[in-house]
Symmetry: C2
Subunit: 159 residues, 2 copies
């Protein structure tokens, strides 16, 4: 009986996560439309605002799953829009660091935070322990999906 309950929990969670992830994709698109950007751009800006240091163009490519060529184009768009600037790396003059422009970036996170305020009330409903549970789960899922991606890439394609 407890196994049956367990199975139901798995099923519910599977459905919940699909809807959750789908709503994120749609939400990301909505923000992009709102700011006149592309979903990829918003996705990257979200990551950039959380990055510990300005990434190189190559790292931008890895973060977004694009090729370096497309990453160059991505940075072109964002630079033209004033969201980032290109800074030469003095350590290695081949490299170009992508530096966020705080003012401009705030306009993006403002949309995020406008939602964030409603988010806050959602988070307030959780206890500390619950937050830790959710955070831990997301971190593990993140690690796992990276491991799986490496596996997937090393496998032959079914076509």
């Amino acid at each position: 009986m407890t196994a049956k309950r367990r199975a139901r929990l798995y099923e519910e969670m599977s459905m919940a996560s699909r809807r959750y992830l789908a709503s994120y994709v749609l939400f990301n698109q909505a923000i992009a439309d709102h700011l006149g950007l592309h979903p990829t751009d918003v996705q990257f800006l979200s990551l950039l605002s959380a990055a510990p240091a300005p990434p190189t163009v190559r790292e931008v490519a890895e973060m977004t799953g694009l090729t370096t060529g497309s990453a160059t184009r991505l940075v072109d768009r964002l630079e033209r829009g004033g969201y980032v600037t290109r800074t030469p790396d003095h350590e290695d003059r081949r490299r170009v660091l992508v530096t966020p422009v705080p003012d401009r970036l705030d306009r993006v996170t403002a949309v995020w935070d406008d939602l964030g305020q409603a988010w806050q009330t959602l988070l307030d409903e959780h206890t500390d322990e619950e937050l830790e549970v959710i955070t831990r789960h997301m971190n593990r899922a993140h690690d796992l999906s990276h491991a799986q991606m490496r596996r997937l890439r090393s496998q032959p394609k079914p076509d």
Copy 2:
């Protein structure tokens, strides 16, 4: 002090969810590459496999955030690939129902489930209560983001 701890939990969760969502986007791309499909296609197939009934083309558009024109093209691709079939709706002969092809769809969910096995071990580490907490959070976040999207669309663009 407890407020400080609370703030740290928020911050950690914010970071975790960004990474989590980013890894989902990358993972979705990896699956798409692996199957020779597009991220949008995989995204939609995931939703289709969880849908209670075959959606119309219009509903496909709403699920994915595309226009009806692009949804037609999406269905074209998937039909050509043998993932879905078009079924006329006898209630309203203008409508076209998009019906999944179970065999073909299994090949997609197989990749999901191959990951799912590793996922299973991740889920096994959680207690029933923890699973409920996570599921509830995802459901609320889903509802919230839909509400926010409606608000965002009704707002004027900052340009």
